[in-house]
Amino acid sequence: MSLIEIKKLSKAYKSGEESVMALNDVNLNIEQGEFVSVMGPSGSGKSTLLTVLGGLSHPTGGTVVVDEIPIYKLPMERLADYRREYLGFIFQSFHLISYLTVIENVMLPLAITEITNRDQSKMAEEMLEETGLKGKENRFPDQLSGGEQERVAIARALVNSPPILLADEPTGNLDSKTGKEIMALFKTLHEKKQTIVMVTHNLDNTEFSTRTILLKDGSMVETNKNG
């Protein structure tokens, strides 16, 4: 059984009087340890796929099963628990909390767990070391470069060791050099058997992934195995 099983997934949005199909009959299986890139033009449904997979937006039809759990059959609060236990989110605009320090931002997903402050700090420090941010624990996000902020976001996404990492345009706001560094970090994570689903516009980024999915008008038109 695959880690992620998406069957006949559809998602419709209301746009004024009209209904727009953001996702239309998408079927997709992702195995544990896979690195999947999702590509497609703007409005093709890439981000919608990520939000639905992330338990943030209920689909109009179809099912999403993660680790044998049909996530949209879970009650609202359990869905939040699913996000905490199974997912790490990385956003294009980093989405760090401005009033929390670097280490506090990384510890954010742990704040609602029973883990002690001491253990939280230890876990966050380890992640910061892994993402190359050692020594910057007590800085605030606005004191960091874009690349560093992205690394903090990655550390936050991975601090509780989630089985799945969802990344939305992780290099979208970075210069090409920093973008390559971040992708190298993704490659390292993948080598450690981290399952990654990444939405990207950048074709160069797909070379790090094991599979690329192409979406067009909400439908999956192509899927390629890389390498």
């Binding site: 981000s47 990520l50 939000t51 992330g54 943030l56 937006s57 609202m76 609060e77 939040a80 628990d81 699913y82 996000r83 905490r84 236990e85 997912l87 989110f89 956003f91 294009q92 605009s93 989405h95 909390i97 401005s98 009033y99 929390l100 506090e104 510890m107 954010l108 997903p109 742990l110 704040a111 609602i112 402050n117 939280q120 936050r156 939305d168 345009e169």
Partner: protein, 386 residues
């Protein structure tokens, strides 16, 4: 890091907004406390003044005889039977445990005498006490100072066609009219007032009293307790609280209390409104942040806790500040506004605790809608970039 750290860090980072919100609620609490404290001072002062104004306890001899009336008050069987109230009873009243609440004790002897063939009621009083009790008296002439001087009620003076300085013969004793009362609209208009010992002497009732009127401060001690203690001291007497007088005073104080509560509610409502608008604005500004919380796995209840915790911290600070400022202001403004002398400040722990609790209640109540609204935000709407 725990949820409380998120709330505290947010307040630290957004000091300006937090201070503005605390200020709004502090102003509300301060105003309410100032009003409550000043009203309390006024209440005490007015209550004492009202207590001084007329009697509120009446002591009569125990008797089964028919009743006579004095200003709507029953005089019991004063004109018949044995007089059992005596001069010696007066000092006993001043010996009760709550004697500091006794303001004026006015013993009286009532008799009907014959003056120029007319039946006229004569009342023996201690003028010093009587004048303290009847602050509304206006006298043409003087209050009697000598043993053989009397004061005439307005109607009696007209009826006998006498004025101040005239002489009058009571039971073959000649007395001088020291003064005539202005019309009072009460039984006093129909009475002749003489010195108590003098009246006791001319009516041959030495040491006897018909009744004792008392003005007591019932602000700090319930009138029932004063009545109970006097009844123990004077078992042969019937001690009664004049309910009508007390009720009038209570009504007057109640109006004042209601007014201050009304104003306090309005001010606190405005304080609550400030918290509400600020919290709502703050939640809307923090949409993205709430989206992040939800995305990393925070439950709705976690988001509500963050908002409530912030409101709680700010309301606690506002409550403590509001109490201190309110008490300070009332100590400073109270004497200026009311003309009442400032007493020694005493910490009222109940008021302090109630103030902080009320502030917290308003803070939480005003944040309830913004907090619930925040928890219900669609995370994808909040995280526009996804």
């Amino acid at each position: 890091m725990k949820i409380k750290d998120i709330s505290l860090n947010n307040l630290r980072k957004r000091k300006g907004k937090a201070l503005f919100l605390i200020l709004g609620l502090t102003i509300g609490v301060t105003t309410a406390i100032t009003l409550i404290s000043i009203t309390r001072m006024m209440n005490e002062d007015i209550s004492n003044k009202l207590d001084e104004y007329g009697a509120n306890i009446l002591i009569l001899p125990r008797s089964d005889a028919f009743s006579l009336s004095y200003g709507g008050m029953s005089l019991g069987g004063i004109s018949v039977g044995t007089q059992i109230l005596k001069n010696s009873d007066v000092p006993k009243i001043r010996k009760i445990d709550v004697r500091e609440n006794i303001n004026t004790v006015s013993p009286k002897l009532f008799e009907v005498v014959d003056i120029a063939g007319k039946k006229v009621p004569l009342m023996g009083v201690q003028f010093r006490e009587e004048v303290r009790l009847k602050k509304w008296w206006k006298v043409h002439g003087n209050i009697p100072e000598n043993h053989d001087e009397v004061l005439l009620g307005n109607d009696v003076a007209s009826h006998l066609q006498k004025s101040r300085g005239d002489k009058l013969s009571i039971n073959e004793t000649t007395v001088r009219i020291a003064g005539v009362l202005d019309e009072t609209g009460s039984q006093d208009d129909y009475l002749i007032f003489g010195d108590l010992s003098f009246v006791q002497e001319i009516v041959q009732k030495h040491e006897a009293l018909s009744l004792i009127e008392i003005s007591a401060f019932c602000n700090t001690c319930p009138i029932e307790e004063i009545v109970r203690q006097i009844s123990i001291e004077l078992p042969h007497a019937k001690v009664t609280a004049i309910k009508q007088t007390i009720q009038t005073k209570m009504d007057a104080l109640e109006h004042l209390k209601k007014f201050s509560i009304g104003i306090s509610i309005i001010v606190l409502f405005i304080g609550g409104l400030i918290v509400f608008t600020n919290m709502t604005a703050s939640v809307n500004e923090r949409k993205r942040e709430i989206g992040i919380f939800r995305a990393v796995g925070f439950r709705k209840s976690h988001v509500v806790r963050i908002i409530f915790l912030e409101a709680l911290i700010m309301a606690l600070i506002a409550g403590v500040l509001g109490f201190i400022l309110g008490e300070g202001l009332s100590q400073f403004l109270g004497p200026i506004v009311t003309g009442i002398e400032r007493g020694k400040w005493i910490l009222d722990p109940l008021l302090a605790a109630s103030t902080v609790l009320l502030s917290v209640f308003i803070g939480i109540l005003s944040s309830a809608y913004p907090a619930i609204h925040a928890s219900k935000m669609d995370p994808t709407d909040a995280l526009r970039s996804l």
